[in-house]
């Protein structure tokens, strides 16, 4: 058999295989008209959930089921909508995934859960709660809302979260924040790296803590902050112009901790690690 014939054979088999997969998929759509401040909960055992605004008072959900070994259970109580993936006998790793594409009123509260994700929400103004094991989490363009994230070791990316009450807990996933401002931003990790790129807003309370991971904050020179950075066994490094403080609650130890203010010291920033490294850098 020539090379060309062999390739042609492989292509035919691949196309047939993809066609089989496509035909096995089942698409389901759900629509609900809800009032202001509705709550939408999606529990997806395996597979992605993407949430974005619908631009109306409708909740629109398109669920693509990988096979007939899985189904979607729906519950509607007033303005509370809940969809849940239900594994049926015969469900395996190869056929149990469901892909949820969800549109909600922008002011709806959203609660999403998936073991492996990915989990994505964008352009919402209601509270967002995200839970997953190893699911990558991507939350962007949220304002004036609570953002809660609990995961084991999936990477977490928060982008353009304004005036948020942000609470993130992760065991081993890296946490990346770009343009995230409070009133409250509290991030805790056991071994993950925490990266912050932004100006810490005006008047917020920022706490970032990781046991063995590193913390890196990239801050513009005009930021208005009161910074405390402490590492119990690791190191700290500062490349940001801070004014020394006349009074501190502890004695800074060179290489292990530093304190200082910039601008009007409007936001409080606490960076802590047990054995990792803390780096505060000026964004040039």
């Amino acid at each position: 058999m020539s090379t060309a014939q062999r390739i042609r054979g492989i292509v035919v088999v691949a196309v047939a295989f993809m066609s089989t997969l496509a035909s096995a998929q089942i698409k389901k759509e759900f629509k609900y008209a809800v009032g202001p401040g509705a709550t939408v909960t999606i529990n997806n055992e395996y597979g992605p959930i993407f949430v974005k605004p619908s631009g109306s008072n409708q909740v629109l959900v398109t669920a693509t089921l990988q096979s007939d070994k899985v189904e979607v259970d729906e519950t509607r109580n007033g303005d509370r909508v809940q969809l849940k993936t239900h594994l049926l006998p015969g469900a395996t790793a190869a056929n149990r995934s469901v892909d949820y594409q969800v549109q909600v009123p922008a002011n709806a509260s959203v609660i999403i859960h998936s073991t492996n994700g990915p989990l994505h929400t964008e352009q919402l103004q209601g509270d967002v709660t995200v839970e997953g094991d190893s699911a990558p989490v991507d939350i962007r363009d949220i304002s004036n809302a609570h953002v809660h994230v609990n995961t084991l070791n999936g990477p977490i990316t928060l982008t353009n979260i304004r005036f948020g009450h942000v609470e993130v807990n992760s065991i081993g996933g890296d946490i990346t924040m770009v343009s995230v401002t409070g009133p409250l931003v509290a991030v805790t990790s056991t071994s993950g790296k925490i990266s912050y790129n932004g100006d810490f807003g005006i008047g917020g309370d920022y706490k970032m803590s990781t046991h063995s991971g590193n913390i890196e904050a990239l801050v513009p020179e005009q930021a208005s902050v009161d910074v405390t950075a402490r590492s119990v066994r690791g190191a700290v490094e500062n490349d940001f112009p801070l004014r020394p403080k006349s009074h501190t609650t502890f004695l800074p130890q060179k290489g292990r901790s530093f304190v200082g203010t910039a601008g009007q010291a409007a936001s409080s920033v606490l960076l802590r690690t047990f054995s990792g490294k803390i780096l505060l850098k000026k964004n040039k």
């Binding site: 073991t115 609990n150 402490r230 119990v232 802590r272």
Partner: protein, 202 residues
């Protein structure tokens, strides 16, 4: 009879009727009377929960050991113990909540009661962690191999952070930074348990 004497026999009489001196004390003491009423209500409520999800005696023993180590309860004078009455039917989520509560209690004590924690750490070594490891095994037991390996890895990481903070605190009991890290580590562990419980409820 004093309240203290009455409370000593409380676990034994909670399912039955008070007699003799105990009945007299119950009539004359509003505090003990309210306590008995509350405990009976809790016991009745617990009986309504699902028997099939009853946790193993080892879980109760571990929780009891943790509470004793923290000085929150005394060692019971009779077999069975304060936390293991003869008929107890709690749902699965209840024991997870109890474990999370123990972790939270331990964390609060780290901040508010240095003496208690230091004594517990010094006298029992890593008793709390060892006991928690037994709980971990219980938690992991029903998981699929893939899920188990993910949770195992993360629990290992959290347990290591707890042990590291405990060891440092044993040498430097007044280090507030390390106290915060121990508290954080317990919260992280509670979160892992909560995620596992959410998963099992699904």
């Amino acid at each position: 009879m004093t309240c203290s004497e009455f409370q000593d026999i409380l676990p034994d009489m909670i399912d039955g009727e008070a007699k003799g001196d105990h009945a007299d004390h119950l009539k004359s003491c509003s505090d003990c009377s309210e306590l008995v009423t509350d405990l009976r209500a809790i016991t009745q409520g617990a009986k309504l929960l699902c028997e099939a999800d009853e946790p193993s005696p080892r879980i109760w023993a571990n929780i009891q050991r943790s509470l004793e180590a923290e000085g929150l309860i005394r060692t019971p004078s009779q077999a069975g113990g304060v936390l293991v009455p003869s008929r107890r039917h709690w749902a699965r989520w209840t024991w997870a909540t109890a474990i999370a509560a123990v972790l939270a209690i331990a964390a609060v004590l780290v901040t508010h009661n240095r003496t208690t924690v230091n004594t517990a750490v010094n006298e029992t070594g890593n008793a709390a962690t060892v006991s928690a490891d037994a709980d971990d095994q219980e938690l992991l037991a029903d998981m699929s191999p893939t899920t188990r390996s993910v949770y195992e890895e993360n629990l290992k990481s959290v347990n290591a952070s707890i042990q590291e903070a405990q060891a440092t605190l044993a040498q430097d009991p007044n280090n507030e930074d390390v106290q915060h890290f121990l508290q954080d580590a317990y919260h992280q562990k509670a979160m892992v348990y909560e995620l596992a419980m959410d998963r099992s409820l699904q």
